[in-house]
């Protein structure tokens, strides 16, 4: 954050260039509009989908549940590429419409953002709904409420904090995403794309101005949504028995489930999986052997991939060490209620703030502190960006361990460290694993901040953006294979996670 303030002086530059200023303002406004619409859309589709997963027949539920994670497992850059070719001239829809159904631009950006942020809403709401005690709803129904009325006036208001939280998460994802957005944006610019573009053009003043406004704006939007979301009055006292009965009917429910599933399949799942097709071709046209030989562009590809994983591993290990005490601090409110809730809010900043703006800020800050090597700055920025994930996962998990277990263990004669090692850690080990994998994949996935920080070094997603945007000229099957290999690793990591978590149940 301080990095931006250091550049406050240079920000003046942009005010001498009205065209640039207008461009940046429009980009940032679009960012907000986009994030808001995408998050609303996510809730509209994600909530009924979560409902389908939790309340319908278990087999269907678990299939949809697994499918819903797919866009989440794929690095966003890969998702962007996949989405682009799915809707593009080589896509399955092209023959039907005689050419590309959609070309890069605003609409494609919306579809992309919808696809990668939907899993967040589904995940949060599935968790909430399966923990929700249905007795409230049953009580409402025995008191004479139609199913829809019961849900609208009882269940949803009770789940309101979760609804707001999932809205905010998808809002943040949309606001922050850079790599994939660049791929499908065409001439459209939102905040992160604008920042990337002015950085490439070497306009530091505009860069710091846009970053500053984006950071402040996103924090403000966050606070505002959280405040209004939890306080806005809902029309829970009004009931329309006739209409609501019709809407609760079997036919209406079936129509709803079908629509939701269709939207989910066509907009989120199909484009995510489409990458398999062109990359499959790449295996047979000789690109694979070329890749494995590591010649030409592939040399830099492998270097980038290794760089990505090394940074990912460092970020994960360091964040585990640094994040664990913080997680304990938050979960156990060690600093008192008020100070803890302040720290709690601060911990969220790295995910609230768009990563490209954060990256710019971090780069300014660390360069001012000293002439640090680029690799170090890159690693530090990944640490910052992924910090929240481990702390959040762990603090939630530690909070679920009853304090009385720790207290009893102490009175039985165990030292605080023994209590942590023998009681808390074994009880939260799955969260340690999932926190670590989340941190790792998030780091490998990160494009915006990395692009903002580095000048020479390129991690795999950044390199792929260059390939796809044509900054570096490569064949289309090279693009596909490069993306597919990045996807593979994320898939494996998340598969391990799912298997581990399944064992728990």
């Amino acid at each position: 954050m301080f990095g931006i303030l250091l550049k406050l002086g240079e920000m003046g530059e942009i005010f001498r260039d009205p065209a640039l200023l207008a461009r940046s303002q429009s980009a940032i406004s679009w960012s907000m509009i986009l994030a808001f619409s995408v998050a609303s859309l996510d809730l509209l589709i994600g909530l009924p989908l979560a409902w389908l997963i939790v309340r319908s027949n278990p087999t269907l539920g678990s299939v949809v549940d697994t499918l819903a994670d797919i866009p989440f497992m794929i690095p966003t850059v890969a998702l962007g590429f996949s989405t682009m070719i799915f809707w593009g001239p080589q896509g399955p829809l092209a023959p039907v419409f005689g050419g590309a159904f959609l070309t890069p631009g605003l609409v494609l950006v919306v579809l992309l953002h919808f696809a990668f942020s939907l899993p967040v809403v589904v995940r949060v709401m599935v968790g909430e709904l399966s923990g929700y005690r249905e007795t409230f709803e049953i009580a409402a129904k025995t008191l004479g409420a139609e199913p829809l009325t019961a849900v609208r006036t009882v269940t949803l208001p009770i789940l309101r904090p979760a609804l707001v939280a999932s809205f905010l998460l998808s809002f943040a994802r949309s606001l922050s995403e850079t790599g994939a957005t660049i791929i499908v944006a065409g001439t459209f610019e939102n905040g992160p794309v604008f920042i990337k573009n002015v950085k490439d053009a070497g306009l530091e003043g505009a860069l710091s101005f846009a970053s500053f406004v984006l950071i402040v704006g996103s924090i403000a939007a966050f606070v505002l949504i959280r405040y209004l979301g939890l306080r806005l009055r809902l029309p829970v006292s009004k009931v329309w028995p006739e209409t609501e009965r019709k809407l609760s009917g079997q036919r209406a429910v079936l129509a709803r489930d079908f629509t939701v599933f269709a939207v989910f399949a066509v907009i989120a799942i199909a484009p995510s999986l489409f990458i398999a097709l062109p990359s499959g071709q790449a295996v047979f046209d000789g690109t694979l052997s070329e890749a494995l030989s590591g010649r030409g562009v592939w040399e830099t590809y492998w270097q980038s991939l290794i760089l990505s994983y090394v940074i990912g591993i460092i970020a994960t290990v360091v964040n585990m060490l640094v994040g664990m005490p913080m997680a304990v601090l938050i979960a156990r409110k060690r600093l008192g209620r008020q100070r803890t809730s302040l720290i709690d809010a601060l911990v969220d900043i790295p995910i609230v703030v768009p990563s490209v703006a954060l990256g710019a800020s971090l780069a300014f800050f660390w360069r001012t502190v000293g002439a640090l090597p680029e690799l170090l700055i890159l690693t530090i920025s990944h640490l910052t960006i992924t910090y929240t994930y481990f702390v959040r996962t762990m603090s939630a998990s530690i909070e679920s361990v009853p304090v009385s277990l720790e207290e009893t263990a102490r009175t039985l004669g165990a030292r605080p460290l023994t209590v942590f090692r023998r009681i808390v850690l074994p009880l939260t080990k799955y969260s340690v694993l999932s926190g670590a994998i989340l941190t790792f994949t998030r780091s490998v996935d990160e494009t915006g901040a990395t692009a903002a920080v580095t000048t020479k070094l390129k991690t795999a997603p950044v390199l792929l953006v260059d390939w796809i945007k044509g900054t570096v000229r490569v064949s289309s099957s090279t693009q596909s294979l490069g993306v597919a290999m990045l996807v593979m690793v994320s898939f494996v990591a998340l598969l391990v996670l799912r298997l581990a978590l399944r064992k728990k149940r």
Partner: protein, 372 residues
């Protein structure tokens, strides 16, 4: 062998004072029950002794050693919380061995102690089970075995029977006491159930708003409650607002609602003073009209039955007295098996020696007796 002493202990949580300048002493080997309503500070008191809560003021001594700044693991006071806090990821045996292991005992030794304790609790066959596979009663025994395995001589039990079903609660009362006495343990047992406290404790501490209201044997707490609140909380009593009419050397005459006069043994209050008259329900006798009543009886009042209920060992009868006040009686089923019908005219009578008198509380009777 531990004794526990608290001196002027104060604990505040924000604006709430959980423990309000509390002092008490528990002699070695005693089984003490802390009795009080929800929010009276029972659990806070226990946690202060355990070292899990640090008091804002005052001193805590275990075995005459000041322990305020001593961490819980060094106090030798085992805390058993309401839901037992058995470690869910460990087997029963591992749970019981946790204490000795944490205190640096070798693994063999710790496991041997743990097995012994489980045998003693007749749980040897469940050593390899996980806690959630056991019934509530078994879990409670594991929690006790785990506490005893540490060789600690001070046991802090927070509602140890609270999570069990009604029958088991009653059965386990004397087992718990027996176990503590056999092992030579000092036990502090928190409960909100006066029958449980009466059945188990050598002494009962009645707590309210973080202060001790009475610290005495179960007999004294029941028969000679020191305050209106204790009388009310222990249960089974009638309360009447009254004024002292006359004071004699052998007692006083109180004037109740509508001028009804009652003779009591107490003569500490002056004529004109506002008082509360307490009559235990089991000391009220009920006679039907025509039944012979000895003529020297005091306190004979006409009334009408509102309802009567069969409660197993007792029959409880609610009577509206001639002056409009309500009176409840409790008659053992061994003395009567008749449920009087509503509307039945009756005569209620009681001895002056079976009454207690307290000065009228300045905050009013209802507020004084409020338990939440």
């Amino acid at each position: 062998m531990p004794s526990v002493r608290l001196v002027d202990v104060v604990k505040r949580f924000g604006t709430i004072t959980a423990i309000n300048r509390l002092s008490m002493e528990i002699p070695d080997g005693e089984y003490v029950c802390i009795l009080g309503p929800t929010g009276s500070g029972k659990t806070s008191l226990l946690k202060i002794v355990a070292g899990l809560t640090i008091p804002d003021e005052g001193e805590v001594y275990i075995n005459d050693r000041l322990v305020v700044s001593m961490p819980p693991e060094e106090r030798g006071a085992v805390y058993v919380p309401q839901q037992y806090a058995l470690f869910p990821h460990m087997t029963v045996l591992e749970n019981v061995a946790f204490g000795p292991l944490s205190r640096g005992t070798s693994e063999d030794e710790a496991l041997r102690t743990a097995r012994e304790m489980l045998e003693m609790m007749r749980l040897g066959h469940r050593a390899d089970s996980k806690p959630d596979e056991l019934s509530g009663g078994m879990q409670q025994r594991v929690a006790l075995a785990r506490g005893l395995a540490t060789k600690a001589k001070l046991l802090l039990l927070d509602e140890p029977l609270g999570a069990l079903d009604a029958r088991l609660r009653v059965e386990l009362r004397h087992k718990l006491r027996e176990l503590a006495k056999e092992s030579g343990i000092t036990a502090i047992h928190v409960t909100h159930d006066q029958a449980e406290a009466t059945a188990i404790g050598d002494q009962i501490v009645v707590l309210r708003d973080g202060r001790i209201r009475q610290y005495a044997t179960p007999f004294h707490v029941y028969m000679r409650p020191q305050s209106l609140f204790v009388a009310y909380f222990v249960g089974g009593a009638n309360f009447f607002q009254a004024m002292v009419a006359e004071r004699h050397s052998d007692g006083s005459i109180l004037e109740l609602n509508q001028g009804l006069l009652v003779k009591v043994q107490d003569n500490t209050y002056l004529p004109g003073e506002e008082v509360v008259l307490v009559i235990r329900e089991d000391r009220v006798n009920v006679a039907e009209p025509g039944e012979q009543i000895p003529s020297e009886l005091y306190n004979v009042v006409q009334g009408e039955v509102l309802s009567s209920r069969f409660l197993g060992e007792f029959i409880s009868c609610q009577i509206r007295l001639a002056n409009g006040d309500l009176l409840t009686s409790r008659t053992p089923t061994s003395k009567t098996d008749r449920l009087l019908p509503a509307g039945q005219k009756v005569i209620a009578h009681f001895e002056p020696s079976d009454t207690t008198v307290y000065s009228y509380p300045p905050i009013g009777l209802t507020r004084e007796l409020r338990v939440l």
